[in-house]
Amino acid sequence: MISRFQTVLFCILLAASIAMGAVLWHLRDKAHQRLVAGEDSAPTSAPTVAPAEQATLLVANDADSSMLAQVQSLPLPQDPGARARAILGKLLDLYAAPNATHPVQGGAASVGQVFLMPAQADSQSPIEPPPDPVSTGSKPNPHARAESKPALSQPAQDQPAAPSTSGPEMAVVNLTTAFAAGHPSGLETETLTLLSICGTLHANFPRVTQVRFLVDGRSRPTLAGHADLTRTYLAAEADNTESQRP
């Protein structure tokens, strides 16, 4: 036999439990609303549409192992690093397109960041192109095509983005692991990829004289088993080659 006191106590506790449940539910709704309000993903500032500018791309061609200058019009940010990344992204987009002359998968997303920093005077690259050794009937090599250098450097003079320093600069290009892993393996194709990146950077940023490569922020021995990624590349190979012509 349940006493009346126990019955009343049970009812009071049941009512209290229901009331507390209702309060908790209400608090949960309020907390959820606050959370949603805090995670508002709406842009805080209106996007600025950068005007389209001209950039010179040195596009590699596997068929004859050459690099040809192409002037592309694309919106470019003002920040030099972001600008360099956008230009290289466009270059790699061309390589990822169907029927590309230098097919490489990955596209613009393959360039993580591009850092521009003052070049050290005592860290000149050992990679400096001497004169074309033998050209007897051979196809022109990438350096030989550098005779178009005046055309390459012309658009860069009109670009407003200027590095923060007045001396020579080094560009550090951070590529993605997916790009390196998916890059075709071969001496010619890897060399063309690196030289086209160096040449494109130099064509649009004349003060960039040295280029180093990282893959996801780390040094990597080779791009895809052949071309050395541990050394500093000289971006002005085109200039040197042309200056050594008779």
Binding site: D62, I127, G137, S138, T189, T230
Partner: protein, 256 residues
């Protein structure tokens, strides 16, 4: 004779016996140093000796690139190395290969083999499906003159002292390959193995034959897996090295 007589009349200087051991010690150290220097100097190749180093790239775990028929690059380079070694041996050349089987050979070990051979030509053999014809690559290191009396070079840039000779070797290869009707591309690259070699070194990348070869009236373009194409490439390289041996005999051999 007169002079010797006059000298003989000069009284010998007096040297205290306590200093004789010091003089003897200095003389012995000088002789030892001279012997050490002679041991460190690279051995001069015997006259008439012509050594070629063939480096079949990749191998073992390092498969290299993948060719169109699914064949790994390491297999092609090994086959080309074996074929070329036979041709060179038949022409009286001494050949050293960095690998004779599908084994992993460390990059530095390959360079050690090449540098110890004191060879007149070092060829790094590669293959790729990209591009066409034969790609000849010389190290992109700037050529530097070999300083007199310096026997030690930086490991990663040792090729600098040989770049000029390597360019000459590439020129001979280019000339013979073109004469054989092949499409040749010349270039400079940064290849770690070649950059460390202290010998005239060229990296050779074999690609499928140019599509122009398959034009009407021409034989069809050969692929990498075509044994006839491989044999033609090997024969042309052997002929080029034969010509290089003649040139090397006229010049300074493997000296930078």
């Amino acid at each position: 004779m007169v002079a010797s007589l006059e000298i003989s009349r000069v009284p010998a200087p007096f040297i205290p016996a306590s200093r004789l051991w010091l003089i003897a010690l200095v003389l012995s150290i000088s002789a030892g140093a001279g012997h050490l220097a002679a041991a460190q100097a690279p051995p001069a190749p015997p006259p008439g000796r012509f050594m070629v180093v063939l480096d079949a790239a990749h191998g073992g775990d390092d498969t290299g690139g993948k060719l169109s028929d699914g064949q790994p690059e390491k297999t092609f380079t090994l086959a080309l190395s074996v074929r070329l070694r036979s041709l060179l041996g038949a022409r009286g050349m001494q050949v050293i290969t960095t690998r004779e089987s599908d084994a992993t050979v460390d990059l530095n070990r390959r360079v050690e083999i090449a540098n110890h051979a004191n060879a007149q030509a070092c060829l790094s053999l590669h293959a790729s499906e990209s591009g066409t014809g034969i790609h000849l690559f010389v190290s992109s290191l700037p050529p530097v003159p070999s300083p007199e009396g310096v026997r030690f070079l930086a490991w990663k840039t040792a090729q600098s002292a040989w770049v000029t000779r390597s360019l000459a070797l590439a020129g001979v290869l280019n000339s013979v390959l073109l004469h054989d009707g092949m499409s040749v591309t010349l270039g400079r690259t940064a290849l770690p193995a070649v950059d460390s070699m202290s010998c005239p070194a060229v990296a050779i990348e074999v690609a499928p034959e140019s599509a122009a070869a398959g034009a009407p009236g021409q034989p069809p373009a050969a692929q990498l897996n075509d044994p006839a194409y491989q044999a033609r490439v090997a024969a042309a390289l052997a002929a080029a090295l034969l010509e290089w041996r003649t040139d090397a005999g006229r010049t300074e051999g493997n000296q930078p």
